[in-house]
């Protein structure tokens, strides 16, 4: 079935409310998929926005949405049986290469694209995972019981784990391993607020660790034609949303600039709509 042309209408098969603002919508539909790819979700009469696939089995998948603006509030208010349209999957997804020591650094619902990646790494059992997850507070920690890998949690308010940033833990881990003569990280995957990902990238650069980040920009087509999502010379929906260290090094707009709906480039803090945290 062709799923990347006009929307395929599907029903919400189940809904899981994670917190006052986070919910996952489950869809009973077989979709071809690679961790890190996204779909366009259409709520007829409202709008259409990109969401990462946050859970995937051969005949069911989910998206996890934070209620933030007009669209995402309507999305988390959807109930079982409601009909939405989906197009996709789009984007490149994470590059998965056999590595031993893997870092996963998630911020807020930046956990969404990373979750199926962790599922996959856990199933493949080839690697040891350093898993760091930050959130506003305890109740915003997504998928608390999903993974066998232990997560190191940070919260802004200290309601669970470390009070502070995921990057504190990442830096400390890298330092500890180095000092202990333990094997260092071979690769770090990260998703979360762009400022966080930028910091993770730089920590990785300082320590010569390859890094993959998942970016977010305003999107229209989702398949590399309209130009709405360009970030420097990268087309986020098509070349990305995942970018590796080599590309990130030359990506001037990373953590600095994003285009508004009008096409106007603005500083990221003005854009304000990046990955929910």
């Amino acid at each position: 079935m062709i799923t990347d042309q006009k929307p395929v209408m599907v029903k919400v098969a189940a809904k899981q409310v994670h917190s006052p603002t986070f919910a996952s919508l489950y869809i009973d539909f077989s979709i071809d998929f690679k961790p890190g790819q996204f779909i366009m979700v259409w709520i007829p009469g409202v709008d259409e926005k990109p969401y990462t696939i946050s859970h995937h089995t051969p005949d069911r998948f989910a998206v996890t949405i934070e209620a933030k603006g007009r669209f995402s509030k309507k999305a988390v208010a959807l109930e079982q049986g409601d009909t939405i349209g989906i197009r996709g999957p789009f984007g490149n997804g994470f590059t998965i290469t056999p590595k031993t020591q893997i870092g996963i650094v998630a911020g807020g619902c930046g956990m969404a694209p990373l979750a199926p990646l962790v599922d996959r790494l856990e199933a493949e059992k080839n690697s040891e995972i350093l898993f760091i997850h930050g959130a506003r507070s305890r109740q915003f920690i997504l998928y608390p019981d999903r993974f066998s890998t232990l997560r190191q949690i940070c919260t802004d308010d200290g309601s669970q784990g470390h009070k502070g940033f995921v990057t504190d833990i990442l830096e400390q881990e890298i330092r500890t391993r180095k000092e202990a003569g333990m094997p260092g990280l071979d690769l770090v995957y990260t998703c979360g607020p762009e400022i966080m990902m930028h910091r993770v990238f730089h920590i990785c650069e300082e320590n010569q660790i390859p890094c993959q980040v998942s970016l977010e920009r305003y999107m229209r087509c989702g398949f590399g034609v309209c130009g709405a999502c360009v970030c420097g010379k990268q087309v986020v929906c098509k070349d990305g949303p995942v970018f590796g260290s080599q590309t990130l090094r030359t990506m001037e707009d990373f953590n600095t600039t994003a285009l508004l709906k009008s096409g106007q480039p603005v500083a990221l803090d003005q854009y304000a709509s990046w990955r929910c945290q």
């Binding site: 007829p44 349209g85 229209r220 590399g224 709405a228 420097g232 508004l260 009008s262 096409g263």
Partner: protein, 309 residues
């Protein structure tokens, strides 16, 4: 396949269609590096505009339907981009639109001072209630806007036409008489509508949208054919061009340059290099040149007419 166009030397005869990718300097440059001789910027309008809500762009398999709705930062809010473009090593075609002759003139004059190599008047976009369309379906208004803009700019003027014009040859002639240096044809066709039968409503938020890609190629070829017979200025032919053979076809209809938009969906950004390669292979295999095949589908016309472009 270096090509001369209105006094500017282009690395290839391929043009990036306006509204496709061209949202910043970096991507225009990337498109150029991938074999596009003349990248066109997304149409610049008189005031900031968000465009329509999504869905705005949907692939139909054999083409696309879109109603992006002319988003623009507004011509006065693009200093950063112009600054970046200043040091460029490739030519740029600045597409502009307005809701009145005055607006067109104001935008054109301002944009021209920023140093694009060409200015393209989008008098043909069907996606907005207030903008554009009115000019491109009527010869008098096309003449009015072209001749007014012509007075305030000192770079070559390209008029971009819509296939919705009842007689596109007459519109092209009016533009030529108004001072246009080239014609670009076609903008999207239709408009069309796709209704989702489960949602029971149009898929596009704006309901109607322009059609592009392979499904409109026969319309584009017909339009270029008609325009070629009614003007002597060069034509940028586009609409569904996806392969070197498509390029040959629209060149035989009369195009001097060939625009590519929707094909980026089907063959990626490297589509420009792919088409260039297919085009030059075809020419080599047929022991011929671009100049020789241009307008070849008009054997009745003077060779002089064909060679003049």
């Amino acid at each position: 396949m270096q090509t001369d166009f209105l006094g500017t030397s282009l690395s290839t005869p391929l043009v990036l269609a306006s509204g496709v990718l061209g949202n910043n300097k970096a991507i225009l440059e990337r498109v150029h590096d991938n074999g596009c001789g003349l990248p066109t910027m997304k149409s610049i309008g008189p005031a900031p505009r968000d465009g329509h809500n999504n869905p705005t762009v949907i692939d139909l398999g054999d083409g696309m339907i879109n109603a992006v709705g002319l988003p623009t930062p507004g011509y006065q809010n693009m200093e950063a981009e112009w600054a970046e473009l200043e040091g460029r090593n490739f030519p740029v075609n600045a597409s502009i639109y307005g809701g009145s002759v005055d607006e067109f003139v104001r935008v054109a004059e301002f944009v021209c001072a920023k140093g694009p190599d060409f200015i393209e008047l989008n008098i043909s976009c069907p996606n907005s209630d207030q903008h554009g369309m009115i000019f491109g379906v009527n010869a008098e208004s096309s003449y009015a806007v072209v001749s007014a803009v012509k007075k305030v700019i000192d770079v070559p003027l390209i008029a971009k036409l819509t296939p919705a014009a009842p007689d596109i040859g007459a519109i092209a002639r009016a533009c030529e008489e108004g001072g246009a240096n080239a014609i670009c044809a076609i903008n999207t066709a239709g408009p069309g509508m796709v209704i989702d039968i489960e949602a029971r409503m149009p898929v596009l938020a704006f309901k109607k949208g322009g059609l592009s890609g392979p499904m409109i190629k026969p319309i584009a070829v017909r339009c270029v054919y008609d325009i070629y017979r009614s003007v002597s200025i060069p034509i940028i032919g586009l609409g569904g061009i996806t392969t070197g053979a498509d390029a040959v076809e629209i060149i035989m209809a009369g195009a001097s340059l060939v625009g590519v938009g929707t094909a980026v969906r089907y063959r990626g950004i490297t589509v420009f290099n792919q088409i260039n390669k297919e085009l030059s292979t075809w020419l080599a295999n047929h022991n011929t040149t671009l100049d020789e095949i241009r307008g070849a589908a008009h054997p009745d016309l003077e060779t002089a007419h064909r060679r003049g472009k």
